[in-house]
Amino acid sequence: MRTLRFAWRCLVVSAVVVVSAPALNGCSSDAGKEKPAPVVRPKEPDIYTVEIKDMKFVPDSIVVKKGDRVIFVNRDMVGHCVTEDGKAWTSGAIPGGEDWMLVAQKSSNYYCAIHVVMKGKIVVKDSVSK
């Protein structure tokens, strides 16, 4: 009887080991398969702020990467605008206290078409050292 019980226990233990083996070894079951290529996410654009205050663009020159965002914030009591020298783009009027965002595509000189003596520059480079 003891022999029969021992044999039965051995059988149960063996079965458990056999059934559990694949589960315990799951992490390496795909070892022979090709790994998926890592997902390369495009770098998030950086955001720069140019303040328009005391009738000046501050800073009046910034260096950014293509695709970076430049937010112009008008801190003056009078309206301003931001217009590319060749009029390729313009913000239209930015009332005091409001802002406007540009997605930088290429280097540009710009000015305020309302107060034409106010000028600034955006330089677009491949990389920007910070």
Partner: protein, 178 residues
């Protein structure tokens, strides 16, 4: 151009008196905050009045654009000034300086209405250059130093860069008209 203000109480003389130098400092009129507020509003109203005449008379795109900017900017400054005096519960008070500014502007407006079409643009822009120089001098030399209320002083200080930009703009237009 300042000669146009001559006659009676000369505007040029007034501005000369207001111009701050150690020599004239004792002769500066003493203004209270309500009087300073009045001078500030009148100075802005005058330039809006000049711009309105330019918008009726000029055919020059650059002059018209400049006049529009003067009208918009000086209205914005007046709006800020009105908001501040309401907040401070101050009533702008007429005074000798604001009265002389008004009298000078009345004469200049007559001159702008009377000048020939051909001479209008130059007359208007020459006056803008002279007027902004005079107002900057008065604001920096008299109004800011004499303002007692910190917020009024701050508003006046904030107006100076706009006036200087207007002056630079007027000088650029003046140069282009030559």
């Amino acid at each position: 151009m300042i000669k146009k203000f001559a006659g009676g109480a000369s505007f040029a003389l007034l501005l000369g008196l207001l111009h701050v130098t150690p020599v004239f400092s004792q002769g500066n009129p003493h203004l209270t905050d309500p009087e300073i507020a009045s001078v500030a509003v009148v100075a802005n109203q005058n330039d809006i009045g000049y711009a309105e005449i330019a918008q009726k008379r000029s055919k020059n795109a650059e002059v018209l654009k400049f006049a529009q900017t003067m009208s918009n900017d000086h209205k914005a400054v007046i709006a800020q000034a009105v908001a501040l005096v309401k907040k401070l519960n101050v009533t702008p008070k007429d005074n000798a300086v604001s009265k002389k500014l008004l009298a000078g502007a009345a004469k200049e407006k007559k001159a702008l209405e009377a000048v020939s079409d051909k001479a209008f643009d130059k007359t208007y822009i020459d006056n803008e250059v002279a007027y902004h120089k005079a107002v900057i001098s008065t604001v920096e030399g008299v109004l800011i130093p004499q303002a007692q209320n910190a917020e009024l002083k701050q508003l006046l200080q904030k107006v100076v860069p706009a006036l200087k930009t207007h002056l630079a703009h007027a000088q650029m237009v003046q140069s282009n008209l030559k």
